[in-house]
Amino acid sequence: MLYFALQYGNQDTGSPAPVVGSKDAYLSTLENIHGPLKENREVSPKVLSFDFYKTSGSFASGFGLEVHSYNKSYSFENDDSSVNLSAVGLLYGLNFYYRGDFWYPFMGFGTGNYSVKVEEQLTTEGSTTYGTVFGQVDKPFYYKFGVRIPLNGIGIVFTQQYISADLKVETENKPLSLGGTASFIGLYYAF
């Protein structure tokens, strides 16, 4: 069986994944200089996922591949400084399903990579510095659980996902969390 799904939701990058995540420090370091962030740490990823699995009675195990993509701009209270973040994650891992009569709960875990671009424009005492950091998190870790509700081939999927993916931003040499705690809702099609 194959599942193809499109999901959308909120991801709080400031809320570390329980057990596997840790608090980042890059933005808080900039806040000490440029003032508090005007925005919160939530991003809105679009998630495209592809799962296939093999059933054995009511249980199934399978492999999933998902692409996460989001952009976020941050600005600061005390000056015109800004940080723009673009991230694309390619995550893959194992999934386990229970096939009930009306709903299919699942859980999974895995790894992958995140490709990131961080653009800084920082103002200090009238002078502006620029920084562009390209980076990759090549050993993220995630775990997730959720439920699929089938409706004749198509269906609705709810996912709660926890991602540990910290990028060390070279300009400050401090980690920036690209993962965190996420909740997604979407539609899937079963082949």
Partner: protein, 381 residues
């Protein structure tokens, strides 16, 4: 971190305890294998590079002889943002002053001007030492020239809305098409500076030993470990230094595969240790994930992603600048890991083996190829 460690530990533990089940399983976790394509970035060419491989080994006494060709197009111009290196400068020949920043200061770390196509031909021989142990010997021959793919790549960029005058298009429009230039500068000094095209220069051979630890079972994956060793050829005169490192390299790959009916998933994690790094990275980390869809017992479609750490070590270059355009020259995008995706087709009959595909980068970092095409075909007995 403890959870990750525990999962790895449990996976390894179950591999050893799943031997009895795996013997009964009859190879449901084996397919035709991942695409066996190594990183083709020009600066990586002299060094050993681990390539993805199947968990399955040849059986005792089986042999396979194959010939492969890998064509890659690489274009990197770290001076592109300031327009310091264009058709005019490459026509007169680049000097170190072309690699200063726009204010005339030496750029710390690496600066590159790479405009080349590499053609890596390889002859491979494999032999099954036992039913689960395989030996491989590989001998490469490498050509570096201006190639023919530049106009196609620029057209594809234009078609999907990427400007060849900007970073997304690697500033390709500033340079002549199908020219050959190979310049690597470190801390204001040339490491490589060549405009002389080379053809079929014999590279350094490498040999592999692959051991299938487990065939896995209905729950557990098959597992194999591959060890690779590159011999040293200290004759690095002239342009041969672009192909040979002159040092012994070795590496390993730990590979898992799991079958889900017609789908086989492969995962590998490994490392290359470079013996004579010439100021580049002393080790490289590799990771791949492949999904194989089996059309039949004989042929498959494969999608693959490969991540690798950079051949350029982290330098003291500052990632910040008071000038936006100068900042782009600094090498923050050369030393980060990078990823590529690959698609391919594999065929295996009783006698013939055939594999073909292409690789495309998606990070647009300066430490990877733009486009790779590859073929490999052979016979086995």
């Amino acid at each position: 971190m403890k959870i990750k460690g525990l999962l790895v530990f449990l996976a390894v533990l179950q591999i050893f305890f799943s031997r009895e089940e795996s013997v009964l399983a009859g190879g449901e976790n084996f397919g035709l294998g991942p695409l066996e394509i190594r990183p083709q970035f020009l600066v990586n060419q002299p060094f050993l590079a681990m390539s993805p491989e199947n968990t399955l080994t040849l059986k005792d006494g089986e042999s396979r002889l194959s010939f492969g060709l890998e064509i890659s197009n690489t274009f990197v111009n770290t001076q592109g943002p300031t327009g310091q290196i264009t058709k005019t400068e490459t026509a007169r020949g680049l000097t170190l002053t072309d690699f200063l920043d726009k204010d005339g200061n030496t750029v710390n770390g690496f600066s590159l001007y790479l405009d080349a196509e590499s053609k890596r031909k390889k002859i491979k021989y494999r032999y099954g030492l036992s039913d689960s142990l395989e030996f491989k010997l590989e001998l490469p021959f490498v050509s570096l020239d201006g190639g023919t793919m530049d106009s196609t790549i620029e057209s594809v960029h234009s078609m999907i809305g990427i400007s060849n005058f900007k970073k997304g298009g690697a500033y390709r429009a500033l340079s002549e098409r199908n020219q050959y230039d190979y310049y690597v500068v470190k801390d204001g000094q040339f490491v490589f500076a060549s405009t002389k095209q080379i053809y079929n220069v014999r590279g350094e051979p490498n040999m592999d030993l692959k051991w299938n630890l487990s065939e896995g079972g209905k729950v557990m994956p098959a597992a194999s470990i591959k060890l690779s060793y590159k011999f040293a050829n200290t004759d690095r005169s002239g342009e041969q230094k672009l192909i040979r490192s002159g040092g012994v390299d070795w590496g390993h790959y730990f590979i898992l595969s799991k079958g889900f009916d017609n789908w086989i998933v492969y995962f590998g994690d490994g490392q290359t240790r470079i013996g004579n790094d010439h100021g580049f990275a002393s080790s490289l980390f590799h990771r791949f994930m492949s999904m194989e869809y089996r059309f039949s017992e004989e042929d498959s479609f494969v999608f693959q992603t490969v991540s690798q750490s950079s051949i350029f070590p982290t330098s003291s270059a500052s990632s910040r600048s008071t000038s936006g355009e100068n900042q782009e020259q600094r090498n923050s995008n050369l030393s980060v890991p990078t990823s590529v995706s690959a698609f391919g087709y594999k065929f295996l009959s009783d006698l013939i083996f055939w594999e073909t595909g292409f690789v495309q980068d998606y990070n647009n970092f300066g430490n990877e190829t733009d486009f790779v095409l590859f073929w490999e075909m052979g016979v086995h007995w």
